[in-house]
């Protein structure tokens, strides 16, 4: 508003001139709002509709016209999901996997990112280049040998087979390195060194506190990605010991033709990431806009 007031008082805005001025100032007109609301509705609709079906009776999904408002059957459907499958186990497994992976990725990325940004060592640039290079490689393409390894270790079907390959990401290291580069002035670390601080103490007392905002964003991304991961868990886990995503896959694959049940499970499985998103959406948006790229 102040920006508008500071401008010289406009001559009565009329016709094309007013439009041109609005164009230059990029103020959103009614069409922009209409379009944005449409985009918002399109984004939210599938998840909303899944919730609607979850709250209806099982026959509501097969009605014309389709149901669009929630009913009162949500808890009955949730109870049916937990009666039909061991969805608790799936939720627990997903929690353990995502929690462990998130903690580990944040810790190791912060440590390595700090070293790459603020410590000098031989081969640093080469190693960093290696990390950036590996970020572009789709590691899923190594899925066959990875499975063979897990079978060899006797880990196939166990959730640590899902956890261990996810413990570090190239993206995390690179992301934290970029942050440290900007966030901590070298002089601060020099001063710490003069006082005889070991580099681990510099990390712990100076770098880590300064890294908290970036570490939080990395943690959010990692958690959501780990929660939603599909291909590798599908391959290495069994239907008896699933994550939420593989349990959904099993449910949808003819275990039942009761699609209200399947969509209720999909809704339940979406709640944790949705909760994270509603609490920290602003940080997630900020992270993507500051160059946080999917890993």
């Amino acid at each position: 508003m102040t920006a508008v007031l500071e401008r010289p008082a406009p001559v009565r805005p009329t016709g094309p001139t007013a439009r041109a001025r609005r164009l230059a100032r990029r103020v959103a007109g009614p069409w922009t709002y209409a379009a944005l609301v449409a985009v918002l509705a399109g984004s939210a609709f599938p998840v909303y509709w899944s919730f609607v079906v979850s709250s209806q009776t099982p026959d509501a999904i097969d009605t014309v016209p389709p149901v669009l408002v929630p009913g009162g059957n949500l808890f009955a459907n949730i109870a049916r999901v937990f009666d039909t499958t061991d969805f608790w186990l799936a939720l627990m497994n997903s929690m353990v996997v995502s929690g462990t992976v998130t903690l580990s990725v944040v810790l190791f990325s912060t440590l390595a990112g700090f070293a790459f940004a603020k410590l000098k060592f031989r081969g640093r640039n080469l190693l960093l280049l290696l990390i950036i290079g590996t970020q572009a490689i789709p590691t899923e393409l190594g899925i066959i040998p990875l499975y063979m390894m897990m079978a060899e270790f006797g880990w196939a079907g166990e959730i640590h087979a899902v956890i261990v390959p996810g413990l570090v990401t190239a993206f995390g290291v690179f992301f934290m390195r970029q942050y440290f580069e900007r966030a901590i002035p070298d002089e601060l670390l020099e001063a710490g060194r003069m006082d005889g601080c070991h580099s681990l103490r510099l990390f712990w007392h100076i770098a880590l506190p300064a890294a908290r905002p970036a570490a939080a964003v990395l943690g959010l991304f990692t958690f959501m990605q780990a929660w939603n991961d599909f291909f590798w868990p599908l391959v290495v886990l069994t239907p008896e010991n699933p994550t939420v995503q593989t349990a959904l896959s099993t449910l949808a694959s003819g275990y039942t033709t009761d699609y209200t049940l399947v969509l209720t499970a999909a809704t339940i499985g979406t709640v944790p990431v949705l909760a994270v998103f509603l609490l920290f959406g602003r940080q997630i948006v900020g992270g993507i806009m500051s160059g946080a790229v999917k890993g």
Partner: protein
């Protein structure tokens, strides 16, 4: 003196070797569970190898590749992959540009809109595909019902090649457009408004300004997004697998009409356990992805200021 000596030694050790300790966890874990399997894929692809009988693995040189090049199912899957790549990547980038320029105006409740466009990206691909499969249902699906309001007949989305590709592309575009829009938006905000003001004085309308100022200046981000989108869209697996779940899910439809290369890899590797053959698919798919990403790079690099 002795104390200082000890400190200096410790200090030297710290500056010379400690950094390797800090980066070691990453390289150890990635080396064992990321890089090694990736490279080993090439070795496995030269073998006749089956999960059931690993001891019977034989080295067969390029026999898997020869078989692959003569395999109509593989070419079908590659064709579907390329078709889906085109149907997902191009609309995704265009839609993202459109959403970004909407968000780049002075908008009230902008955080709400920004969160809104990114919402599809944080939902799980498995859950969302299951939801979309219902929305695309033939008899009671909401999309057919909506089209019916305009007089369209009931489309059996899963049955046809074109219709199934469109349906899958909708899911992917829905999921990723907002993400790319935010990347574009970040760069759009860095474009000085004086450029637009000058253009307005010269009589350029909004559309002209968008194509002649905004898009050329976003070229680096468009190149980046195209490459990221390509690497993702060339290996679609969850969408075709869960679009038609059931006993034959891995074939991607009754006639393999929407089986992608990644899904064929899954079918060969984890329903037939032909590890050698499946690894050969992985290698060819990786090469194809690099080629297509290169193609995307050269196309987007040609964006110029007029």
């Amino acid at each position: 003196m002795a104390v200082i000596d000890k400190t200096t030694r410790r200090h030297r050790w710290d500056t010379r070797f400690a950094p390797y300790g800090y980066v070691a966890p990453y390289f150890l874990i990635f080396g064992v569970f990321g890089l090694f399997p990736l490279l080993y894929t090439v070795w496995v692809s030269l073998q006749q190898r089956n999960l059931i009988d690993a001891d019977a693995a034989r080295f067969v040189w390029f026999a898997n590749y020869a078989q692959l090049l003569a395999d109509p199912y593989f070419w079908n899957a590659m064709g579907n992959t390329l078709s889906l790549w085109l149907l997902t990547t191009v609309p995704q980038i265009l839609l993202a540009l459109w959403i970004a320029q909407l968000l780049n105006r002075k908008v009230r409740t902008r955080t709400l809109f920004r969160m809104g466009v990114i919402l599809p990206n944080i939902t799980s691909v498995a859950a969302v595909t299951i939801i979309f499969a219902q929305l695309f249902g033939r008899d009671f699906g909401l999309i057919n019902w909506s089209l019916g309001l305009f007089g369209a007949g009931q489309i059996d989305w899963q049955a046809g090649t074109a219709s199934s590709h469109i349906a899958i592309a909708v899911m992917v575009v829905w999921r990723w457009s907002g993400y790319h829009a935010l990347i574009f938006l970040a760069s759009m905000q860095a474009i000085p408004s004086s450029l637009y003001e000058a253009a307005t004085l010269d009589g350029a309308n909004g559309r002209q300004q968008f194509w002649r100022i905004t898009v050329p200046l976003l070229r680096p981000q468009i190149i980046f997004s195209t490459i990221i989108a390509t690497t993702g869209n060339m290996r679609l697996l969850a969408e075709p697998l869960l679009f038609n779940p059931g006993a034959a899910a891995a074939t991607g439809g009754s006639d393999r009409q929407f089986q992608t290369a990644a899904l064929y890899l899954y079918e060969q590797g984890f329903t037939k356990y032909e590890f050698g053959y499946s690894s050969a698919i992985a290698v060819v798919l990786a090469i194809a992805t690099v080629i297509v990403a290169g193609l995307g790079y050269f196309v987007t690099k040609r964006i110029r200021t007029e």
